[in-house]
Amino acid sequence: MSDELIARVAAVIAKTQHIPAESVTIHKTFEELKIDSLDGINILFALESEFDIDIPDDEARQIRSVREMVEGIEKLLAAKEAR
């Protein structure tokens, strides 16, 4: 997990949620950031545009924290790279 990737994901979450970027750290859960299910799909939408990837619904549903989100994106970027 590169710092750059974490920073990009955090920036997207912060922008979508209209919260300060520094509040979105790798240790935060979505609950702590007050991200509900509808916020969650807005974030997924923004991340898909940011990284030019498709995030499948089933995988997205399991994500509950910033760390899990970054890990998921990392996996999808690796898969995209491999294509």
Partner: protein
């Protein structure tokens, strides 16, 4: 005004993915046959979910002359076709002043979506600079209601309700109250929907609530809803009047209750639906213990089904153990504004025939939906009272109560 009138259902019409008639619909439901298939109305692969419950093989020419077909969007055609079946079967007539004392109340969630999508594509993508002049009256949400009133000379209250997935139940509930109160002597009510435009499906895709395979309400492995289309229409009349004219009586619409969650624009609560169910039972003066069957909203999304089960338990307490609760959306899909109307038809037919339609595509129980969901196979059961639930995005809940009439 007479607020004590009982209200009979004297006509039922259905257009659904199970077929273009009431009989095809009912046969499909009691066979537990799911009409969820690969989508044909939009290009393959254009959205992430491949399946839907489309009314395959529906051809305008089978029901309308060329000129009418051109000015009626698919959702309005469904409304008219279902209304024709319901009215023809009821034997209701609108001459001699009856037209003035009859209402048409329809539900529509997205109106003439396919018409708009098609014309907007022409404008934005194909360089068209002009629209066909009938685009506005074709796409308006009341197009179906207005056409029914025109075809039958119904000149009383005619209007359309839009409350997303509760539209059909809100339409039926209000029409029922209008007949019960004596405001009108008859009503044609229900809902219709034709949501398969690429533009709208892309929006559904972004909501991440549509299942990538099929609709498995109340199953532990459920993955979301499956969109459907079609229409359901009922003819409502005062019971005494229907009996006096010797009409065929399918059942009684006995109560209606509604509520709003005021909680979240998409996340459901158990409290809101529970209040609507209690209000409907109170309106029908029915004891919870008298209810034998609930046609659930049961969309197949992880959150709806668990919340609905919780709401049912909170209303019925220990009696919840004795209830049969099925979601027929597993067979006809979630037809949005038409869903409540189709499910009303299914519920009335279940009471009349003594057959409870199942929840199809059921795989394994979910402890969060621990009710008798009538998995996969219809069940023979004599039930006097039944509920039909509809809950909408926006937190709007509408519940109907039906009673068997022998």
């Amino acid at each position: 005004m007479n607020s004590n009138r009982r209200v009979a259902i004297t006509g039922i019409g259905v257009v659904s993915a199970l077929g273009p008639t009431r009989d095809a619909f009912w046969r499909g439901l009691i066979e537990g046959r799911s009409a969820i298939r690969p989508m044909e109305l939009v290009p393959k692969g254009a959205v992430r979910f491949p399946n839907a419950a489309e009314v395959s093989g529906f051809q305008s020419v089978d029901y309308f002359d060329d000129k009418d077909a051109e000015v009626l969007d698919r959702f309005a055609q469904f409304a008219v076709v279902a209304a024709r079946e319901a009215i023809a079967g009821s034997g209701a007539e609108f001459r001699n002043g009856m037209g003035e004392r009859t209402a048409v109340v329809t539900g529509s969630c997205v109106g003439g979506q396919t018409t708009e999508d098609n014309e907007f594509r022409g404008l934005y993508a194909l360089g068209h600079t002009r629209f066909p002049p009938m685009t506005i009256p074709k796409a308006m949400a009341n197009a179906g209601a207005s056409r029914i009133s025109l075809d039958y000379g119904i000149t009383g209250p005619v209007f359309t309700i839009s409350t997303a997935c509760s539209s059909g139940n809100h339409a039926l509930g209000l029409a029922f109250w209008m007949v019960r109160s004596g405001m009108v002597e008859a009503a044609i009510a229900g809902g219709s929907e034709a949501p398969f435009s690429l533009g709208l499906l892309k929006a559904w895709e972004a909501m991440r609530v549509v299942s990538p395979d099929t609709c498995r309400p109340f199953s532990r492995d459920r993955r979301g809803l499956i969109l459907g289309e079609g229409a359901g229409m009922l003819v409502l009349e005062p019971l005494d009047r229907a009996q006096a004219r010797g009409a065929r009586i399918w059942g009684e619409l006995a109560g209606f209750g509604m509520s709003s969650d005021a909680h979240h624009i998409t996340q459901p609560t158990a409290e809101g639906p529970a209040r609507a169910m209690r209000a409907a039972l109170a309106d029908a003066a029915a004891a919870p213990e008298a209810v034998g069957y609930i046609n659930a909203h049961g969309t197949g999304t992880p959150s709806n089904d668990a919340t609905e089960a919780e709401a049912i338990r909170s209303v019925f307490g220990a009696h919840a153990e004795k209830l049969m609760v099925s979601s027929t959306k597993s067979m006809h899909g979630h037809a949005l504004a038409a869903a409540g109307a189709m499910e009303a038809a299914g519920t009335v037919l279940a009471l009349r025939d003594g057959i409870i339609p199942p929840t199809a595509n059921f795989t394994e129980p979910d402890p969060a939906c621990d009710l008798d969901v009538v998995p996969n196979t219809a069940r023979t059961a004599q039930v006097e009272w039944a509920l039909s639930n509809s809950f909408a995005f926006g937190g709007l809940n509408a519940v109907l109560v039906f009673r068997r009439i022998d």
